[in-house]
């Protein structure tokens, strides 16, 4: 399954370019969805067992593309995403044990928490516009959630994480 790795790079690269070059023309109140972060979150949230190496690679690639198009030094987002990944891994494990009855609620809650933490770490300042960004990104993340859910269900019917 070596081809998965270049595919991940290509996917993040395309999403990053769309985010910074195409979508700004469709922004509402100056808000553009952070496709790279959304894709990273979906990868982590729907991580399967024994996918550690692949997820580690995803974290590095997502962090790299977040940093390359921002003013922060390269590596800052990698570290941030790694911390988020470890946190989410613990929480999603708990969700699996709970059989994920309200998985969409957990998804929204965790996404909001991670996004606000990420935005705060990049902004350095708290502002009401973070919430505008959150609403926009949550909307796109939910679309991604249902798209990923279909792919996820089709590819692994025996997965323990039961979705709505």
């Amino acid at each position: 399954m070596w081809f998965k790795y270049p595919l991940i790079i290509l996917l993040f690269f395309l999403f990053a370019l769309l985010q910074v070059s195409f979508l700004p023309h469709f922004s509402i109140m100056g808000v553009v969805p952070n496709l790279v972060f959304i894709l990273f979150f979906l990868f982590i949230f729907f991580e399967r067992e024994n996918q550690g190496g692949e997820t580690f690679f995803t974290v590095i690639i997502a962090g790299f593309f977040l940093d390359i198009f921002s003013t922060s030094f390269l590596g800052k987002s990698i570290l941030l995403l790694l911390v988020m990944y470890l946190f989410l891994r613990a929480v999603t494990h708990f969700l699996k044990q709970k059989q994920g009855k309200y998985i969409i609620v957990y998804f929204m809650g965790l996404f909001s928490l991670c996004f606000v933490l990420y935005a705060l770490s990049m902004y350095s300042l708290f502002s009401i516009s973070i919430f505008l960004h959150l609403i926009c990104n949550l909307l796109f993340a939910l679309i991604g959630f249902y798209v990923y859910k279909i792919i996820y269900k089709n590819s692994d019917a025996n997965n323990q994480l039961k979705l709505l």
Binding site: L17, L18, S21, P24, H25, G30, V32, G75, L125, S129
Partner: protein
């Protein structure tokens, strides 16, 4: 028991290897960050530029589509024909616009005695209010140079310079503060000064205006050059509404910025203002 210990050792080894790889990657990125960013922009800029242009054309198309929704039935045939023609001549129009803007900017530059370097926007970081432009160290760009449009609208300043590209901090960035003068209709009045602060998401607000200063809707804000970074009289925005709060020692107001990231083709970097 032995199997358990072996498994545990294997996990510890795995974590250690991953940690070492991570540290090496971070160190590499930290040391060669500038070069990596510049090389990446060189590789991705042709795609970014095309995507930027496609975004603009698509966005303009949808805007015109929604605006003329009531006339669409009557002019359907004409619209289709028009859109085809628009697509065909869009590149030619871009060249014409670029030429016109360059001429205008050169005139502005001549009257203000500034030398300008034309540049184009490639990317927008909407979370931090930064744009990436295609001029860098090789074009003589240095940090803190002002960035304006052809008609004298202030966009921001150069924040970080790479070999072929520069990052521009827009005046809407949350860390941006700029001294402005409020232009009154009556020239006999004492000029009112304030500070324009970035509010994020491409928005601005006016702050630090004396509490007894008169503020009117649609008053024009121009740069006052007090902070020493931007030249005088560059267009910044207009007042939308005054925020009244008796508890605050200064007045604040909502501001509509004049800069328009979506529809701008060419920007200009003032290269010699800082030296003066």
């Amino acid at each position: 028991m032995n199997l358990y210990i072996k498994k545990e050792n294997f996990v510890v080894k795995k974590i250690m290897i991953k940690s070492i790889i991570l540290v090496l990657i971070l160190a590499f990125l930290y040391i060669f960050g500038g070069q990596i960013k510049n090389s990446f922009y060189v590789i991705s800029s042709p795609i970014s530029k095309n995507l930027w242009e496609s975004g603009k054309v698509t966005s303009n198309f949808f805007e015109s589509f929604f605006a003329s929704a009531d006339l669409k039935n009557k002019n359907n045939g004409l619209h289709q024909e028009n859109q085809k023609l628009l697509l065909e001549i869009s590149f030619l129009k871009d060249f014409l616009r670029a030429n016109y803007e360059l001429q205008q900017a050169l005139q502005t530059g001549q009257t203000n005695n500034f030398s300008l370097v034309p540049t184009q926007t490639i990317e927008l970081d909407s979370l931090n209010d930064f744009i990436l432009v295609n001029k860098g160290q090789e074009d003589g760009i240095v940090e803190n140079m002002p960035v304006i449009s052809s008609n004298g609208v202030l966009y921001g300043k150069i924040y970080k310079v790479h070999k072929n590209f520069s990052e521009v901090m827009l005046i809407s960035n949350k860390l941006s503060v700029l001294d402005v003068k409020i232009q009154n209709d009556d020239p006999s009045l004492i000029p009112v000064y304030g500070a324009i602060k970035g509010n994020g998401s491409l928005s601005l607000y006016l702050d630090l205006v004396s509490s007894d200063a008169p503020l009117k809707e649609r008053d024009i804000l121009v740069s006052s050059a007090l902070e020493g970074l931007f030249p005088k009289n560059l267009l910044v925005g207009e007042i939308l509404s005054e925020n009244k709060n008796d508890l605050k020692p200064f007045k604040t107001a909502e501001v509509r910025p004049f800069f328009d990231i979506k529809n701008i083709d060419n920007l200009f970097i003032i290269t010699d203002y800082l030296k003066k």
